[in-house]
Subunit: 428 residues, 2 copies
């Protein structure tokens, strides 16, 4: 009887782990709530009508087409029992109990609202395809509203978008939004003067980057037209405005919350003490400290590097840890010693609209502007999963680059607004 590996999450960590185990001598169950893998770094492109949903998502099943030892289960994990080695899954057909010999949890992260109920109520997130589509709908609806609004103050508020968070996600979102407005929407919505504000509580953007690149990123943002407000945490949030701690009031109907993430709530199901951000402390082998045969990788995992700093919540970390965890499981099955995690850090990069970006490569090379943007573009194209997606995204981008077209700016009504027909009671 083959040993059974259960992997929770088909993100970068889980997917790469499963690929390592494909056609090996184990029985693998991969669980995800979605039937697709999301290329999360481009969610903001979907939110700003730059790419369509299908271009940044890839169905999970075809990835494991040739691997008979891997099964996929679409469902939500509701409990983990490390004593009898099983997980409970709310699947399409009701609740299932799935036994494991090895468990790999790679459920990623969720938006961190830091317990602020107003942010949670009014803030838009950028963590899933649904988040992006919801935000796209919202932005386009506001413009349809603004163009018919008679009160100039109302028009201004409807077309002002506030992005909170000076990390890569915040910068990318702010830059893409501003370009959507100036290059596309302004041509079609006469008389509107959109505004994008980036708010950051600390006094700098892109904290993990060298100081010169932080300054370059800020300059590029501002030269594009984005207003950057540093050192000013959000103090009050309402449906039609926000107030910063220094008293500045920004009339807006759109707050995009890119100010932080925390580990998936699945971490709490493991029953071990959690680190800051709800992360699970792991050994360098990626095994959870205090549990047997349980591995955690990626955003959910807390592991310190040689300098005592936790590894960042970045895709390359998740991917490399996922691969290591899978190989360690195979080693353990052979009775071999497991290997430790050694992060190969190729660098970090962030984009700020067409031709604008910063990149810090191999902790050494600093790129900014057009050359950094080209590097960013190339990296994303080669990382995108699936050849067709890659080709399509590339064509889309080339097209956008020369035409500023945004043909996917569709306001899709909620497909489930009418009660879903032909669905059995147990399925909803």
């Amino acid at each position: 009887m083959l040993k059974r590996v259960v992997i929770i999450g088909a993100g970068f960590g889980g997917l790469h782990a499963a690929r390592e185990l494909a056609n090996r001598n184990v029985d693998v169950l991969l669980i995800d709530r979605n039937n697709y893998h999301t290329f999360t770094p481009l969610l903001y492109q979907v939110a700003t009508s730059g790419l369509d949903a299908g271009e940044i998502a890839h169905p999970v099943r075809p990835v494991f087409h040739g691997a008979a030892n891997i099964r996929f289960l679409r469902g939500e994990v509701t409990a983990i029992n490390t004593d009898d080695q099983s997980v409970m899954v709310q699947a399409e057909d009701g609740e299932r109990t799935e036994r494991y010999d090895y468990l790999l949890v790679a459920a990623g992260s969720v938006t961190n609202f830091f317990g602020n109920a107003a942010v949670q109520q009014y803030g838009f997130e950028l963590k899933s395809l649904e988040d992006s589509l919801k935000l796209r709908n919202h932005i386009l609806r506001l413009f349809e509203r603004a163009v018919w609004a008679e009160d100039p103050a109302m028009r201004a508020a409807l077309t002002t978008m506030v992005v909170v968070g000076g990390g890569a996600t915040g910068l990318e979102m702010a830059g893409a939004l501003y370009e959507l407005f100036t290059q596309v929407l302004q041509r079609e919505f006469a008389g509107l003067t959109p505004r994008v504000v980036l708010v950051e509580a600390t006094d700098k953007v892109l904290a993990p980057y060298p100081v010169e690149l932080q300054a370059a990123a800020r300059e590029q943002l501002e030269s594009l037209g984005v207003e950057v407000m540093l050192g000013s945490p959000v103090h009050e949030i309402a449906a039609d405005h926000i107030i910063l701690r220094d008293g500045r009031v920004i009339p807006t109907h759109t707050l995009i919350w890119a100010a932080g993430v925390k580990a998936s709530p699945l971490a709490a199901l493991l029953g071990v003490p959690l680190e800051r951000g709800g992360r699970v402390r792991i050994n360098p082998t990626t095994e959870v400290i205090g549990l047997n045969h349980v591995y955690v990788v990626g955003d959910m995992a807390y592991l310190e590097d040689a300098h005592g700093q936790p590894y960042p919540m970045l895709i390359p970390v998740a991917k490399q840890q996922g691969i290591l965890a899978a190989r360690n499981i195979l080693r353990d099955l052979q009775g071999w010693k497991q290997h430790d995690f050694h992060y190969i850090d190729r660098g970090i990069m962030a984009t700020i609209g067409r031709s604008r970006a910063v990149a810090y490569i191999f902790n050494r090379i600093k790129l900014r502007g057009y050359i950094a943007w080209i590097a960013w573009l190339g990296l994303h194209l080669i990382t995108l999963l699936g050849f067709k997606n890659r080709l399509q995204v590339f064509l889309h981008w080339v097209w956008n680059y020369f035409t500023y077209d945004r043909s996917v700016r569709l306001i899709l009504n909620d497909p489930a607004a009418r009660p879903t027909p032909k669905t059995d009671p147990g399925t909803a």
Copy 2:
């Protein structure tokens, strides 16, 4: 002061009418509930994961980019007052009253359930992008369920799809579904044997086609693998089966209703007597009989041809009537005599999967099989609105043709499942 033309509907009739009026000496308001035009003939491709939503929809605003005399309002028409010449619109920002000098109603058609509550409850429609996405979600979810179901009868029911209606829509849907199953899903969902049944109440498919092509269509469907049940109206419908009048029971969770359409309910707002299918009787000039300065075109309009037959509910009719109505409005403004509708019938065609189709061109040429399919493909590509869409759809098709890929088969959760943040009370 310019005369004001209000056009309701940005489908084929309304959009072509508005294009005729672009940069002419009138003030045009185009109203649609969606901010995009839908290429309806390919909705079944979205439902079967062949194309992504953005590939068959095109935003309305860029179409009128260079036309300052055309404004667009996204909203739902709730009342038409032909006495004081105004329409009421439920828009993003509340209810608006819009005055007109000329009104053109081109709101198309809706699914005709023929008053059958069970069909309405359980049947899936194919009239909008939302319908297609809902059906796509449903089909893919059933497969995710079926692959884990232990009862063979349940597995079979979950993977049996019934299409009701032997018109072009029904045939296209049945063919595309079967190809999705056999070419794509069967490879990924081991052990499932999907089944597609086409049910038609009369004894033939494609009623408007010559008898030889009806037979050819049926043969092609059956050679593909679709079960065709003719002369057997649906008698009873439930969540997990349907029963035909001849007693045959088909266990299924999916009933796709392609058995008929009727005029948009907006027709009733005009206050004139309606013809069969709720259509509005018009003069050959496309003016509504009994009303002044009100035009109706396309699926909503009832006009008989020289043989006393009503013009069919087809895109070319809508398009040609829309153009004529716009030109007649301009003629009327000049005090000129309006022209009558003369339908230029280039033919009809229907596809039944890859390389299978029938076409009846100029009421003379009968094509079937591969050559008809090529004709169908070419026609759709040149009709698709917008160059980028055309290029993308073409690439997508070429790709699918050689690989049987279906990369957009994403189960998207309802983006509005969580209460929408930052939306004012009046906006929902």
